[in-house]
Amino acid sequence: MISTGDGNRTMRKSTIEENLSNKNGPLSTQELRVRTQQLSLREQLERNHFLLERLYAASAGLIQALNDGDVHTAIGEILGNLIGCEEAALFHYNPENRRFALAWSVGMSDETLQQFSKGTGMMWRTVGEGLTQFRDRQNESHLQPCEQNLTASVILKSSREVVGVILLFGLLPQKSGFEWVDYQILKFLETYGAVTIQLQSLRKNAVTP
């Protein structure tokens, strides 16, 4: 059996069938409406639970990395294991000299990273607006050739300070696009990824004056 992950399908098909069937014969319209409503509410709860589990794992991963690992690697694990993206790069941003610096990457060629190291349109829009930019919501004419394979440019922002951007390129083949849970995890990373990077940086500077 080959199974593909899908964060939105948290309720099993058998459960739905069991709930909508009736051993004593066909359900009345009223019974059917009540059961459908129950299923809908149950699905909402399960979806939320699914999200909270993943947010907890993401948060725990960041905190553990602060203690005994590398925050960038922890962010990479979140992208790979929870979102399904193993082609990504993280650039720090220095607002004083308006420069990006590559801090971490996975699955990317040096040539591609070089193209992004000076910043691209989507990266500048990300830091300029302070908002995550998604490739499928961009005006095609504003995209640079190297941005064709970019899926998202995620802002890393702590309070109002822009710390950097995470560039997400190809998603895993079994992922057709971002799902609701993915957007929430990216939202979490926008703030807590940035805070954790800042904290690790402060700690490093404290031990190596």
Partner: protein, 124 residues
């Protein structure tokens, strides 16, 4: 009756944590873990789990290498191994089965599908 024991092998603490939460909340399986293939082979010999759920890309020894080693050892060859990986393409799947795995799951893991698969091997 003693609960069934699953050996979870993944170098990512995020992945281990997600799986631990799924098992603790939704099943009665006992979970033990290892962080790479080498440790997995040792723990399989030592702890004799009922099933092994193992990532492929890991340091020291990959999941494929570990699966081969587990299947070549008479004391562990009967343990079903489910490979857990990000790569779902046909060539990767074939390589997985060639290593002797019983099944193949792709990440990100879906709770219900994972539990359904485990129940197919281990029961409730």
């Amino acid at each position: 009756m003693a609960s069934k024991k699953i050996l979870l092998v993944d170098d990512s603490c995020t992945a281990r944590l997600v799986n631990r939460m799924i098992f603790s909340q939704k099943s009665n399986y006992e979970l033990i873990s290892a962080v790479d293939g080498k440790e997995a082979v040792e723990r399989a010999r030592q702890d004799k789990p009922d099933l092994i759920l193992m990532d492929i890309m890991m340091p020291r020894m990959t999941g494929l290498e570990a699966c081969r080693a587990i299947k070549q050892d008479k004391t562990t060859s009967g343990i079903p191994v489910i490979l857990l990986t990000t790569r779902g393409e046909e060539s990767y799947v074939q390589e997985g089965y060639a290593s002797g795995c019983s099944d193949y799951l792709t990440k990100p893991v879906n709770d219900a599908e994972l539990l359904d698969l485990l129940r197919a091997y281990l029961g409730e």
